[in-house]
């Protein structure tokens, strides 16, 4: 992808801004979720409901750590340290809110939640657990009102 060059005249100093526009990334993400789900489903003694809840939880927790907890980049970007205190979500698309990528990443956990509630037959406890993780881990951190906000200074540095 031309935008993935670093250090040239037409490049972005931090590839984290642009790599989510690469061809096939959305499909890759969905395929990862499917693989996780199949692995969880393969565990023999748990019920269907638990399998779906587990998938939903694992997805929310892993995406939370990937997007909203770890800061900076695993390589040395050319942005003179700007992204050192920014989470991955804040780096995606260089801070622009409501881009296609961000809408996609917001919608996927919701769709997983809807499927999970369907497959758990609307059970109360499952609903509570999944809804909490959806709202707290998947939806709230992605809202533009929380852009660069660190509650109680947690994870600021």
């Amino acid at each position: 992808l031309a935008a993935m060059q670093v250090g040239t005249a037409h490049s972005d100093p931090n590839p984290n801004h642009v790599y989510f526009n690469s061809r096939g990334i959305w499909a890759t993400y969905v395929i990862f979720i499917f693989i996780t789900h199949f692995i969880v489903l393969s565990i023999p003694f748990i019920s269907m409901a638990l399998a779906w809840t587990l998938t939903c939880q694992i997805h929310n927790v892993i995406t939370y750590f990937w997007l909203h907890w770890e800061k900076g980049a695993p390589f040395e970007p050319l942005d003179q340290g700007e992204s050192r205190t920014l989470t991955h979500w804040e780096q995606l698309d260089d801070g622009v809110q409501f881009t296609a990528n961000k809408k996609f990443l917001l919608v996927v956990p919701i769709v997983i939640f809807l499927l999970t509630t369907f497959y758990t037959r609307y059970d109360q406890i499952h609903f509570l657990v999944n809804a909490l993780s959806l709202v707290l881990l998947a939806i709230v951190p992605k809202l533009p009102q929380l852009y660069r906000v660190r509650i109680f200074g947690i994870n600021k540095w």
Binding site: S47, A49, Q80, D123, W157
Partner: protein, 503 residues
């Protein structure tokens, strides 16, 4: 509760699942309805950049704002029309017909003794260096035609880096092709946005550019004042105690020059190294004027400081004055200095040092090694003698700034002689040219952020300046200043006659 174990009682047929929707609790369906509305609303949102207040960079200007800004724009004149520039422009009319070494010949036939440009160990015009450079030129051509990572690395570069590392007693050296950009690239490659740099307030312009490019927090300490620096470091240590998480990710640096070009002072390196260890700060020493000019004392300090620590701190020198053709380098431990091979922008993205210059620099370093400090010692004694004579003979006429053994000195008109202004000093330099001496005013860029220094004449001493040349310099300075003082006194007398009530 259909939780953990696969239960035979509960049916997981698809039709049963669909039926379960009808018996779902209301709060659940309401919640899901809200989520679906949220998705639908999301699809209609426009993308935007958060405003500056929220940490974003703000949306771009609207068309109307753009048009207004374009209509309001007035171009600045190309030439500022500042009278101070005229003297500078006039000096460009002067055309040298010889090498700018210890003496310079101009197109009008005059030969002037050079006290203006830095040629401390008198390597300019040295036959051995010139021959080596010419041999390299015939072998490699002129330019290297590429940065170090793209076919621009030649054996002369590697050889020179090894030589530099050995000369300084360090593990590794990194070679840059342009002196100015050495320190201006080295600082931002280590110091980033949330770091802290303690910089001396009289640092040169190249260091200031590096500090600005680093986007770090810059704290300036009073020139050569280690007590003030310690106070600032102590304050910072207290801030760190209050917020240890932030302190853990903040890097701290001290940036000083070995020999300050803008002052002629020498930095107190021993005390700085002590502070460095006490407060765990990395030290940058910019040695462009002190390579080979300050001799063994410096070397001992540097080597002593470096051997003890485990990989922090580096020396950077962009040496265009001492050994002539060398353009810039950074030395330090391998772990620290190697970082610049990928992060030093001047190293990665500029063509490498022309092999001819690298070979010449290598030869110059060999000469410095062979001479075992002979020229350096001579330079120090000449500078010292000049300093003593300046203090002794020109006491009330000129004020001297600079360490006694430093080859760079700054002269300013004493207030008894007259007003120390740039035009006055430039007139002095013009008069010096008539007397056979090449002097220059210290020039600064308009954006120089350091303490705006008083205008001065910057003297650069050469190790081979003879006593007679120094004598003629002092004679000129004395006679010129005495003449000025007389004029000033006469004017004062005239004004006294006109206004007798002023003492």
């Amino acid at each position: 509760m259909l939780i953990f174990v696969a239960d035979a009682d509960v049916s997981w047929e698809f039709s049963d699942l669909i039926e379960a929707i009808y018996s779902a609790p209301t709060y659940h369906l309401v919640f899901e309805g809200c989520l679906i509305l949220f998705i639908v609303g999301l699809l209609f949102q426009h993308s935007f950049l958060p405003s500056k207040r929220r940490g974003g960079s703000g949306d771009r200007l609207s068309k109307a704002e753009e048009d207004q800004l374009i209509a309001e724009w007035q171009p600045e004149p190309l030439v500022s029309g500042d009278p101070a520039d005229e003297a500078l422009l006039a000096s460009y009319q002067r055309c040298a017909t010889s090498q700018v070494g210890r003496s310079v010949t101009y197109s009008d036939g005059r030969t002037l003794v050079n006290f203006a440009t830095g040629n401390f160990l008198d390597f300019i015009g040295e036959a051995r260096i010139r021959d080596r450079a010419l041999a390299s030129l015939r072998h490699y051509g002129v330019g290297s035609c590429g940065p170090r990572g793209f076919y621009g690395t030649m054996d002369v570069h590697l050889h020179l880096e090894e030589q530099l590392a050995k000369f300084y007693g360090c593990e590794e050296a990194v070679l840059y092709s342009y002196g100015f950009s050495t320190i201006a690239s080295a600082i931002p490659s280590y110091a980033k946005r949330h770091d802290i740099i303690f910089a001396d307030e009289r640092c040169c312009f190249a260091i200031q550019q590096g500090l600005e490019a680093s986007r770090s927090k810059i704290i300036r300490f009073a020139h050569n004042d280690t007590a003030h620096l310690e106070e600032l470091l102590q304050r910072q240590a207290e801030h760190d105690r209050r917020d240890p998480k932030k302190a853990r990710v903040t890097r701290k640096f001290i940036v000083v020059e070995g020999l300050y070009v803008n002052c002629g002072d020498i930095c107190p390196l021993g005390e700085l190294v002590k502070l460095k260890y006490k407060y765990k700060v990395r030290l940058f020493v910019e040695e462009s004027a002190s390579l080979g000019t300050l001799g063994a004392t410096r070397a001992r300090h540097l080597r002593g400081g470096r051997r003890q620590r485990a990989g922090r701190g580096s020396d950077s020198g962009w040496n265009r004055e001492c050994s002539g053709p060398l353009r810039g380098f950074v030395v330090g431990t391998k772990y620290v200095v190697d970082h610049q091979r990928l992060s030093g922008l001047g190293y990665c993205f500029s063509a490498s040092l022309p092999p001819m210059l690298a070979a010449a620099a290598s030869e110059a370093l060999t000469m410095v090694d062979e001479m075992r400090g002979e020229r350096t010692a001579r330079l120090k004694s000449v500078s010292d003698r000049l300093h003593q004579r300046l203090l002794a003979e020109l006491d009330n006429l000129w004020s001297v700034e600079g360490a006694p053994m430093s080859p760079i000195k700054h002269l300013r008109l004493h207030r008894c002689t007259g007003e120390n202004s740039l035009p006055a000093l430039e007139a002095a330099c013009a008069a010096a040219a008539d007397a056979g001496l090449l002097l220059t005013v210290a020039r600064y860029v308009a954006q120089d952020l350091g303490q705006p220094a008083q205008p001065s004449i910057r003297l650069s001493v050469n190790c081979n300046h003879s006593d007679s040349e120094i004598g003629s310099l002092l004679d000129f300075l004395k006679s010129y200043a005495t003449g000025l003082a007389k004029k000033c006194f006469q004017q004062l007398n005239i004004s006294r006659k006109v206004r007798p009530w002023i003492i």
